[in-house]
Symmetry: C3
Subunit: 274 residues, 3 copies
C-alpha cells in the first residue's frame, strides 16, 4: 500500500517481533469471555502462541479476575443476558485496573439484542476492536451485505469505516479478511498471509481476537503494534500451514503446529506487512 502515515514498515515489523518475544517470555494471562463455539479453539491458539488462557466469564468472578489478567477479551458470539451483564462488569473492572481489553463484535448487526450490547460495550473503551469487514462497516453505521457471521464484504470496502470508528472511539480497529487492515485513525497498515482455508475453520477469527489480547497484555499502551503483531503471527503461521493442508480439517491442526513453531525472528524475515 501507499503507506501514508507510517513510512517505516521494517520498524513496525521489528516492533512486532519484540512484542512476540515478550509474549513468549512472559506467557501473559489472557482472560476470555468468549463464545461457546470458540472457547476450545481460542485456548489452544493462545497456548500455541505461548500465552496462558483463562476462560473465566461468570459475573461471580470475572470482574475480580480481570485485575489479575494481563488482558481481557470479550466476544459476543453466543450472547445471552447473564453473559452480557458479566461482560459489562468485567470490561469496567478491566478499565479500573488498567487492564487492556479487546472487543470482538461477532455478527452484532444480526439482531437488536446484539446491536444494543455492542453499543454499551463500545462505551467502555476497548483498546482494540477486531472484526470482519461486514462487522466493521455496520459498526461505523454503514451498510453491510452480510446477514450472519460471515463477511460478505471485502476488507477494502471497510477501510474508511475502520478509520472513522478508530477516531470516533479512540481505539485501534483491525479488519480481517483476505488481506487485513489495521488502523488507530492515524497510522494504518495491511497484513497479508493467511490461508483460504481460514474462513472454513470456525472460530479462527475469535482465536485471532484472543491472540490480539495476548499482545495487548505485553504491549500495554501500544495497542496498534499489538494488533499488527497478532495479525502478523496469524498471517505467517497461516501461510505455512496452508502450504501443507489438504482441507479445513488438516489446516486447523497444522496451523496450531505452525504457530507453536513460529520463530520470533520470522516476524521480520517473513514480514507480512504491506
Amino acid at each position: 500500500m501507499a503507506c501514508l502515515t507510517d513510512p517505516s514498515l521494517p520498524a513496525l515489523a521489528r516492533a512486532s517481533r519484540d512484542l512476540y518475544a515478550a509474549v513468549r517470555r512472559d506467557a501473559p494471562l489472557v482472560q476470555c469471555l468468549t463464545n461457546f463455539v470458540s472457547m476450545n479453539t481460542a485456548a489452544n491458539t493462545l497456548l500455541a502462541l505461548g500465552a496462558s488462557p483463562a476462560m473465566v466469564h461468570a459475573a461471580e468472578e470475572a470482574p475480580e479476575f480481570a485485575a489479575l489478567s494481563g488482558a481481557v477479551v470479550i466476544n459476543i458470539g453466543t450472547l445471552s443476558t447473564p453473559w452480557l451483564d458479566s461482560m459489562l462488569l468485567t470490561a469496567a473492572a478491566a478499565a479500573r485496573a488498567g487492564t487492556p481489553w479487546v472487543l470482538d463484535p461477532v455478527a452484532h448487526h444480526a439482531t437488536a439484542f446484539r446491536r444494543d450490547a455492542v453499543r454499551r460495550l463500545l462505551d467502555l473503551r476497548p483498546a482494540v476492536v477486531r472484526g470482519n469487514a461486514s462487522e466493521i462497516l455496520a459498526l461505523a453505521g454503514g451498510q453491510s451485505a452480510s446477514k450472519g457471521v460471515d463477511a460478505r464484504d471485502p476488507v477494502q470496502q471497510a477501510e474508511h469505516a475502520a478509520r472513522e470508528l478508530a477516531r470516533a472511539r479512540g481505539t485501534v480497529v483491525a479488519v480481517t479478511g483476505a488481506v487485513d487492515f489495521v488502523t488507530d485513525g492515524q497510522r494504518e497498515v495491511r497484513v497479508t498471509g493467511g490461508s483460504p482455508w481460514m474462513p472454513q475453520v470456525t472460530a479462527t477469527g475469535c482465536a485471532l481476537t484472543a491472540v490480539v489480547g495476548a499482545f495487548a497484555a505485553v504491549a500495554r499502551a501500544d495497542a496498534y503494534t499489538a494488533a499488527v503483531a497478532a495479525l502478523s503471527c496469524f498471517g505467517i503461521a497461516g501461510r505455512r500451514a496452508n502450504a501443507r493442508a489438504d482441507g479445513p480439517g488438516s489446516f486447523a491442526w497444522r496451523f496450531l503446529d505452525a504457530l507453536a513453531a513460529l520463530e520470533t525472528d520470522s516476524l521480520v524475515r517473513e514480514s507480512p506487512l504491506a
Copy 2:
C-alpha cells in the same frame, strides 16, 4: 433393500446431487440451537459442506433470527430450562416464518426432563427428526436397550418405529447407524457408507443433523430428499476418510477434508443409496 415405494434410486441420487449443488451455490444460513459438546464440530461441518453456520440460541434473539435463517436445527444434547424455553420460541417462530426446522432428540429417553421437552418440541412440527435407533424407538413409544447417548439398538430394529413416527407426526424420520434408514411414512430408503470410527467421534450425529438443516434450507418442502442428500454426503465423505484414518483422532479431520473436497457429482457416481 427391496425398495417398496420408491422404485427409482437413481432418480433419488440425482435429486440429492441437485440439492447438494444448491447448498454449494447458496451457502444457506443454518441456525443451530445445539449442545455445548457439538457446537464447534457442527459449525466446522457446515462450513466444510459449504453452508453458513449461525450458533444463535438465546431467547433474546433466536426467535428473531429464525426469520432470517434458511433452516433451524434444534438439538437437546445439553438441555436446561432457559435453553428449552428458547427452543420452543424459536421453533414456533420458524414455523411462522416458513423456515423448516430439524429436531435431534439426543438421549430424550434418559430423563423425565428430556422426555417432556421432546414431546413439546414434536408438537411444533419439525420437518425432519434425526436420531439413532434407540432414540427413534423410544420416541415411537417402544423399548430401547440404551440408557445414555449411545445407540445400543441396531437401525433395522427401529424401522417400523420410524415409519409409525413419520406417519403420526407428518415428518421425515432419519435413523442413523451402520446403515441409515430414511422414511416419510410412505417412501423409504437406506443409506450406506460412513465409517466404524464415526460412533467414536463425539458430535458426529449432531453435526449430521446440522447438515440435514442445510439441505432442508435449499429443499424447502422436500424434506425427504433433503435428509437423504445429507446422509449421502456423510456416507461418501465418511467412507473416503475411513480409508486413510488410523483412529478416531485422524478420522475427525480427514472427514472434514473429505467433506470439503466432495464433488457434487459423487452423489450419483458413488451413490450410497440402497
Copy 3:
C-alpha cells in the same frame, strides 16, 4: 521412587491392566459436569478409551441421571452459580446412589467464588481429586506460584500436600505434571510417560479427570488403582503420540488415535509406574 508402602509395582500394573480390560468390556457410562472448554475433548477421550460419555449437567436432570451413571465427574473450569448448584445436588445424589465421583478443582485458588465452591464440593466426599501441583498445594492450604489455570509449581513440591489432603479427606489425590503422583494417604506411586505437548493442549487435564471417572466406575471401592490405571493409559498413549507429533495440533489427534489403539496388556509391558 523408593516405594514406601506399596512394594509391588508389577502387581499394581497388573491390577491397572485388569481395570482397563473392564473399561473396554463394560463401556461404563461416565456423567460429566465439566467446563465448556473441555466438553468435546473429554467426550472424545472417553470414547477413545472405550467408555460412554454423557454430558448431563443441568439441575433439572443431572441428579436423577447420577443414579444411572457408572461414575460422575465434576470439573469447575467455567463455573457459575446455576452450575455449582447442580454440581452440589449431583454429587450428593451420586453419594446416595453409591456412584463414585471425581473432582477436578480447576484454578480453585484464583477467585473467592471458586475457593468457596471447592470447599463445599470436598465436603461431599469425592473418591478422587485430580489436579495440577498448584491446585493441590492450594487445596491443602499451601502457597502456590500460580494465578491462573496453569501449574507453575512442580509435582514434587505438592507431594506432601497431596498426602495430607488424602488423609484429611479420606480420598485419593492425583497430582499430574511431568511425572504424576498418586496417593491415598498410605500408598503412593509415580506415573511417568506423557508428552511435553500435553500442557500445550487445552483440556488435557480435564479429559484425564474424565478418564479417572471411567476407571472409578469399574473399580468401585478401589479408587487408588482406578486413578493409577487412568494415569497409566494417559502416560503410555501420550508417550506414543509424542513420538510422531510435530506440535500441539498434531499431538492432540495422535493422542486420541494412540488411546483408541492401546492394548490392555501395554499397561504391564510398558508400565509407566515408578
